[in-house]
Point group: C2
């Protein structure tokens, strides 16, 4: 049931957009009764965030002892896949909705924090090991890594290939390494 | 006339969003006749892109001979200002519209290319001077710089302060400097 509802929600988000999505439509497309859907998701925002959240497997925090290798694992899930292309098409709607609707803003904030967490931990461990400048704020460092992916998805609308991911990692690791 | 219409358009985009904006509303708010507006802007997308475009002064390409200083000038316009906050609130709507409407996608593409151009030139000159690795793609390098600003605006919704701008520049300049 859950899988069918979330898959239908993602399909509609991708094809018609957030504004067009209704629980009615999700019920129709998934073949699950509206009442059943409402029992599990009190409203449209709950369903939407659950569906978008389900597009990424929860990621274990890598801890190889090497910053470069850890970051490579963090980025592993962001390769060019069909799922990523769909995510790239859906996320601007969520960002736009967050501007005006506090419910989506809240969900968006949570989603961002969740997705950022493993990266923050990887950076913190690297800082403790002395592989990252001690004076760098972890959120700043995380945004240096996430930002270029976002620019690629949102501005250039081209997938981030392996070569670009490697360039981001190499640049930030070298750029933020302790002076030597 | 032009200034009043563009200002009204930006106000409406900021307060009510792109979907809610109509030429009718812009006419009402600016006090300029609908027929006059249509004579200058054939349709809503033309008006919207002109208004969003007008939020940034066209930027001369800096050429101080030093990559760090040039980038600092490129970023000068992106400081935390009221105009920037409004831009940050408006841009997600344009991104979302670009997903489904080829007209906005086209406008968005042009706007991105225009805003990227001075940065690309600065990077290209640095590459010719040997201050930037010769094998780095200029679009990749530009996204390394623009991306973190985007992450700050869209994901964290916090303004990029001077300290963060300096960190981006220092990290990328060091990270992409020729080996040795």
């Amino acid at each position: 049931m859950r899988t069918a509802v979330l898959a239908a929600t993602i399909d509609i988000l991708d094809e018609d957009g957030l504004a067009a999505l209704s629980i009615e439509q999700v019920a129709h497309r998934s073949g699950v009764a509206k009442t059943t859907i409402y029992r599990h998701w009190p409203g449209k925002p709950d369903l939407v965030v659950d569906a978008i959240g389900s597009m990424h497997d929860p990621m274990p925090t890598p801890n190889t002892g090497d910053l470069h290798a850890d970051l490579r694992e963090c980025f592993h899930g962001v390769r060019d896949t069909e799922l990523q292309s769909r995510f790239g098409r859906i996320i601007p709607d969520l960002l736009a909705a967050s501007q005006r609707d506090p419910e989506y803003a809240q969900l968006h904030k949570r989603l961002t924090a969740e997705r950022k967490q493993p990266l923050r931990t990887v950076l913190e461990l690297a800082q403790l090991r002395g592989q990252l400048r001690a004076d760098v704020d972890l959120d700043d460092a995380a945004d240096l890594l996430i930002g270029p992916l976002l620019a690629r998805t949102l501005l250039s609308r081209t997938p981030s290939d392996e070569k670009f991911l490697e360039l981001i990692i190499a640049t930030v690791v070298r750029g933020l390494s302790p002076e030597g």
